[in-house]
Amino acid sequence: MKKFNGKAMFLDRGDINTDEIIPARYLTEITKEALKPYLLEDLILPGFNAQADVEKSNVVVTRANFGCGSSREHAPWALEVNAINIVIAESFARIFKQNMFNGGMMAVELSAGALDRIFKKFAKSETTVTTDMDKMTLRFVTADEEEIFPFAISDFNRALVEAGGWVGYADSKY
């Protein structure tokens, strides 16, 4: 099973689409590793610097409908090769969310209220997120703040995370 812990990157906008996560001009790459320098290259947000912010982060925290648009699995791959295995958002586009779990990664939904609280309390500080897959909690920690948020994923998606993805799961069953 992959690890879902590390420094958080806060992207405070809804509807961040797959073209912003990995622009189509890089879809000519045929290895995941080649996507590494281009993650979030076209995302324009105040105070956001793709290269520097991606470099130090392992967890993305964002708003609603993350990953809308294209079916390209290059979006989760670009996260994965940058050691980001978990995105926490209010909601996800269907294909992006399934692509995450199909690769043994996590797309975790929290309520709008919980995310408001997280953005307010943690977004301005260096924050570490720790995921406990047994207790099903996310622990947000800064130098002087700490809070634990429970989360849920479907049994199917949990089975995919534990199996390391859909190919292994499907090959053993169908």
């Binding site: 000519t28 648009g69 989760p76 499907a170």
Partner: protein, 431 residues
């Protein structure tokens, strides 16, 4: 209890129900193109699982960048070409016979009512126009589809959108779907199927229904879907005439894949067609929709007519009606890409290509190219394009570019004036 079209299709294709509302269904068709498939092929090879579940149910095409523009895109083509050859995939479309997948595969008769279809492409929802469940998936789902012929989905709820009344002249399927996306929002249909019904849909050609279903994903929808009827049967007749004694018999059979009157929907939206006007997008999201008449100050550098949304013969005919005998505004670059060789050929026969060329358009081969900023009309930073495509995301047609989505009629009219303009086919207030 009655069922929706999607529920009927799921219930006839279920192979497993491993958890709660997760249903594993078998697939009637797995479509492949050269952008998302090569990584799946390479992964299958690396896992020592380089097999296909049924070569007759796999259809493949090189369409996103064709002819190859550089060594990388040439390699993507080579990987899918070699794979199709070694697995005896007969329906593989390479240069000379290739076109935009969602235009090419329907005209080959590969989609039938009641089918389940996946492809590593979000606009796969287009094929729901035939009364099929057709969903875009990622490369891993595609890989499992290729290997096992199955895919897992949440049992789909549907949103019913009923469009009734008289559609004003000069208002097209593209305007209808943009208006719907404006209403639903970019995630209004997430995890749901959008079922399009009503007399306006009944009167639409298969081409127009494909335009509608094509953009279901822009509202987050898993698949668009239209009930099969005689229009569907007539379109498919050349492919199904051996299976049925008459068109009526085919129609009777396909009634199996229409919704029950007492089916349950997550949401029902009624749209009065008479209230619709030609529209365009104004921001970086396809739900940011405004009447064309309110955007007339927007200047454009390029006009693009093509794509899986609006690159079919009906679209080219409409644009040609507006361009006939006229020339596009000096300084505007016009690019038209007929979406398949059959469409291109038909447009040649009908004199449409000549009209485009005389009007100052560049006519390119069928390809996805510029729609996603890969080739054949990429924008420079700061440039604006009026486009018949499906996405106006930031950077979509080129980093720093702005895209305004609209119908072929509005795009052609805009090419003539250089600013976003209603076509002469639309006369406000007239029915």
């Amino acid at each position: 209890m009655g069922k929706t079209i999607a529920e009927k299709i799921f219930d006839s294709h279920r192979v497993d129900n491993p958890f709660g509302d997760i249903h594993v269904i078998n697939l009637d068709a797995v479509f492949c193109h050269e952008i998302t498939t090569p990584v799946a092929i390479n992964d299958l090879v690396a896992r020592d699982m380089d097999r296909v579940f049924d070569p007759t149910k796999i259809k493949a095409v090189i369409d996103h960048v064709t002819p190859a523009k550089d060594s990388k895109t040439a390699m993507q083509g080579k990987i899918i070409r070699d794979w199709a050859n070694r697995h005896n995939i007969k329906d593989f479309f390479d240069i000379g016979e290739n076109g935009v997948c969602h235009a090419l595969f329907p005209e080959k008769g590969f989609v039938r009512p009641g089918y389940t279809v996946i492809m590593g492409d979000s606009h796969t929802c287009t094929h729901g126009a035939f009364g099929a469940f057709a969903a875009g998936v990622g490369t891993t789902d595609l890989e499992v589809g290729i290997l096992k012929g199955v895919c897992a989905f949440q049992y789909p709820e549907s949103i019913k959108i009923s469009v009734n009344g008289a559609l004003p002249q000069g208002v097209f399927a593209k305007d209808v779907i943009l208006a719907i996306i404006g209403k639903l929002g970019v995630n209004g249909a997430t995890n749901k199927v959008i079922e399009f019904t009503g007399n306006v849909i009944d009167a639409m050609s298969m081409e127009s229904r494909m335009t509608l279903c094509n953009m279901a994903v822009e509202a987050g929808g898993t698949s668009g879907i239209c009930a099969p009827d005689m229009v569907t049967v007539d379109y498919l007749w050349q492919f199904i005439s051996n299976d049925f004694s008459s068109r009526e018999e085919a129609f009777e059979k396909y009634l199996e894949f229409t919704a029950d009157p007492d089916a349950t929907y997550a949401q029902v939206i009624e749209i009065d067609a008479a209230t619709l006007v030609p529209v365009t997008t104004f921001g970086y999201k396809p739900d940011q929709v405004r009447p064309v008449s309110e955007m007339s100050s927007a200047k454009v550098d390029q006009v693009y007519i093509g794509s899986c949304t609006n690159g079919r013969i009906e679209d080219l005919r409409i644009a040609a009606r507006i361009l006939d005998g006229k020339h596009i505004k000096k300084g505007v670059r016009g690019v038209v890409s007929p979406a398949s060789p059959a469409i291109y050929s038909r447009a040649l026969e009908e004199g449409i290509i000549k009209i485009f060329m005389d009007a100052g358009f560049c006519v390119t081969n069928p390809t996805c190219g510029a729609c996603l900023g890969m080739s054949n009309g990429v924008l420079a930073a700061g440039e604006v394009c009026a486009s018949t495509t499906n996405r106006n995301f930031s950077g979509r047609m080129g980093k720093g570019g702005m895209v305004h989505l609209m119908s072929p009629a509005s795009a052609a009219a805009t090419a003539l004036t250089g600013t976003i303009t209603n076509s002469t086919l639309y006369k406000a207030g007239e029915k």
